[in-house]
């Protein structure tokens, strides 16, 4: 793909990924075929800040984990009342990175 297209993608979507992954994503996108551009461009990523708000408000019901696609962990949190409240608090600090990891997985699936 052209570098200008890739840089546009990085500029608009950089906040959805971990900072140490951005350089890797850029290299990967540049080496990817141009035909994948439209599917890459239309990908919807989860906003880590939005998920953090959900986690603070409804984290002990596991809604944050359900939203990013961690259904198993979501059920676990829901049934144990947010892991007796402890897991819910830990997730306030973990959920943004978890969301970014999930976004990367989503991008990897399209690029694979």
């Amino acid at each position: 793909m052209e570098a200008s297209k890739v840089d546009l993608f990085i500029m608009t979507n950089g906040k959805f990924f971990e900072s140490h992954h951005v350089a890797l994503i850029r290299d990967k996108l540049i080496s990817t075929d141009d035909a994948k551009w439209s599917s890459v461009q239309t990908l919807q990523f989860k906003d880590p800040t939005f998920i953090l708000i959900i986690s603070i408000l409804a984290g002990s019901l596991g809604i944050d984990r359900f939203l990013i696609g961690d259904t198993g962990l979501g059920v676990g949190k829901l049934l144990t009342c947010g892991g007796l409240g402890i897991w819910a608090i830990i997730d306030w600090f973990m959920i943004m990175d978890a969301t970014r990891e999930k976004n990367l997985e989503k991008l990897k699936i399209v690029l694979a």
Binding site: L61, L78, L79, T80, C81, G82, G83, L84, G85
Partner: protein
């Protein structure tokens, strides 16, 4: 073993240990009104799984009806508490990895709308019931 699989085993093992410790600490006294539930402490409303400790304790005493009255979610928790240590141990002893595959299949099954829609309705109905019980 991938990092994700290892994480799953560690998470389940710690979760179970914490669950048994919690039962041991909070379970002996059925009239213990104190709670660590974040949701209940903040909103003073019961969360969907409030009462499940008492349900698991009732189950351990063989009181199935009482457990259902406290919170039916207690049955699921008791099942997980009994099965997962055995499953982890058998996977460790036989050097297999059947648990992560099972959890992945269960997650995919749960992402089917015909499964999760009734599940959400059941959880909500159960939640409304916990309100009327005044847990």
């Amino acid at each position: 073993m991938t990092r994700k699989d290892l994480f799953l085993y560690i998470l389940l093992a710690t979760g179970c240990t914490a669950g048994y410790i919690w039962l041991w600490v909070a379970g002996d006294d059925p009239n213990n009104e104190s709670t660590v539930c974040l949701f209940k402490n903040v909103t003073s409303m019961p969360c969907p799984s409030c009462g499940s400790t008492r349900a698991v304790v009732a189950l351990a005493e063989g009181d199935f009806m009482g457990a259902f009255q406290w919170n039916p979610i207690g049955f699921i928790i008791a099942l997980v508490l009994v099965i997962s240590p055995l499953w982890i141990a058998s996977d460790l002893l036989a050097r297999r990895r059947t648990l992560p595959g099972f959890i992945e299949r269960a997650e995919n099954w749960l992402q089917n709308p015909w499964v999760y829609a009734p599940a959400i309705i059941l959880i909500l109905a159960n939640w409304l019931w916990t309100f009327s019980k005044g847990l």
